[in-house]
């Protein structure tokens, strides 16, 4: 239906991704406002269990794209099946999480559908018969209110990718959504790329963009070894470890952990900046965090201008002390 809000129910290693539940939460809110249904699009192979899991969170409907050709994510097949589905049913919106997978997929599908796509959104609303999204632009210096030119006219689906950790997740309250299996047909010329090798990061580590808490280190950490104290704090909190560009350029951390305008944009509940000065390009990647704690020896450091809490001191003393305090607190609760 032209008032339905779809979302791409991304999953990994047999589990729904956290951002998927946030998409569902937002899809429900927008669908209620637009008078349509919140519809999950679940793609993969052997999806029965995942559909059951997802159903608990209360989507109105689940469309399954269940086929061996979709077992592993590949751009060509996924683009094909999603674009066919959108062209057939023309929902009002199709939401994606802002993940590496969808950054590869969503622009291609939107392109094939002749649709706009709003990337990395931090807000969404249905207003005056149109969907509006909020997007940080120019390194987060400005926020844009964006909308599809032809929203409201039947046949124009608006695509949007939502930043992780910003939208309220749907809760498991039980439910029995309609589950429908859609036909999957992947033409041979869509079978690209050829996946030669997948080098997965050690499992069990929290994904940076989805992490609730991030402990980030900068030049003040002094070296790759210095990150050990940050990792201990992160382990105590179940947090992910991020880095400034200085730490990355010095070879202390891999690029994929860089936070900032030329790295990842993150929005954790708590961002702990250790030995990071707070350059404007770093702030671009983390200023939408709910709470910022900064540890820096320099009381004049720019990071203190945006931090909710600051400790002026040597991170090699302060961070272990924090680890101890958090451990004590978490053991007590």
């Amino acid at each position: 239906m032209a008032t339905d809000i779809w979302f791409f129910a991304e999953h990994k290693d047999g589990n729904l991704r956290k951002v998927t539940l946030e998409l569902l939460g937002e899809a429900k809110r927008l669908a209620a406002a637009a008078g349509g249904e919140a519809v999950a699009v679940l793609a993969g192979s052997g999806l029965g269990g995942l559909a059951g899991q997802l159903g608990q969170y209360g989507p109105d409907r689940i469309i399954l794209l269940d086929d061996p050709a979709l077992a592993e994510y590949r751009t060509g097949p996924y683009t094909n099946v999603l674009a066919v589905l959108v062209a057939e049913r023309k929902p009002l919106a199709f939401l994606f999480g802002n993940t590496a997978l969808t950054r590869d997929l969503a622009p291609r599908v939107a392109g094939r559908c002749g649709a706009p796509l709003f990337s990395d959104c931090t807000g969404a609303a249905y207003r005056d018969g149109a969907l509006h999204f909020t997007r940080p632009m120019y390194g987060g210096k400005l926020y844009a209110d964006v909308t599809g030119a032809a929203v409201g006219q039947p046949g124009t689906t608006v695509f949007a990718a939502l930043r992780a950790n910003v939208f309220g997740a749907a809760q498991a309250t039980g439910g029995s959504p309609a589950v429908e299996t859609a036909a999957v047909a992947v033409p041979p010329d869509a079978l690209w790329p050829v996946v030669k090798e997948t080098l997965a990061q050690v499992s069990g580590k929290v994904e940076l963009a989805e992490a609730n808490i991030i402990v980030s280190g900068g030049r003040g950490v002094g070296g790759a070894d210095g990150f050990k104290v940050l990792e201990e704090l992160a382990d105590a909190l179940g947090a992910a470890v991020g880095a400034s560009r200085m730490a990355v350029d010095n070879g202390w951390r891999d690029y994929k952990y860089q936070v900032g305008q030329t790295g990842k944009t993150v929005s954790p509940t708590l961002y702990i900046a250790c030995g990071i000065s707070g350059a404007i390009q770093h702030l671009a990647g983390m200023s939408s965090s709910k709470c910022i704690l900064a540890i820096n020896t320099d009381p004049e450091a720019n990071i203190f201008k945006v931090a909710d809490y600051g400790i002026v001191g040597d991170l090699f003393q302060v961070v272990p002390a924090l680890t101890q305090e958090f451990r004590r607190l978490l053991a007590a609760s």
Partner: protein, 262 residues
Amino acid sequence: MLNIAVCVKQVPDTEARLSVAADKTRIEEQGISFILNPYDEHAVEEAIRLKEKQGGTVTVFCLGPARAEEAIRTALAMGADKAVHLADAAFGGGDEGTAAAALEKAIAGKSFDLVLAGRLAIDDASGQVGARLAEKLGWPHVTAVTRLAVEGREAVANREIDGGSQVVAVTLPAVITAQRGLNQPRYPKIPDIMKARRKEVAKVTPADLGLSGGEVGGAGAKGKVAGLAPAPGRSAGKVIAGEPADAARKVVGLLRDEAKVI
């Protein structure tokens, strides 16, 4: 021999203080400086390295106003051979869809083997044009590439995935988008900058590309900026003094009881 196209965009300097123009949908450009989009530096560098290894040509494509020629010249000074500048005012105010559509018209049918683009332009932070361009061309694409090898008619790329990386292969022609880590872009030397001034920059209009006014720029865009405003500001919070152990205890207490984030 590889015939390579590189898409580059000129973007405001990351340090620039930005304000919103009177129409509230774009930035005030007066007085700010612009740079070649950082990811596009990696794209240009990779193209030049491939050319140096395998021979061929590197052509830069840029959609943007007259000022964007500076970014084009930077790419030429790095070692690209020539450029095509989609500079007509009618291209302005578009979105990722119209940019990809115009670039496709400029690139298609010219026997390019490979198109390199940035994974993201740091002004609009969309990360779409590469994949959209590939779709228009009907070519495969690989995004966020940190290693690229061209072997015969195949491109083998390491790309970033959630939680790791992946080695994938696509058949040429293809579009590849550059992630940091792909290479270390070179700084052009003075003689290269001088030489770049004499390189050809062809200016093309929508009509040259067979596009009507309604298909380009603001007129053709499916996404609209309804309003642009300064980001909600953050202000300095509490600085906690004391010995590390005391300060840590206080902060943890505040995070729990005041901020309620743990």
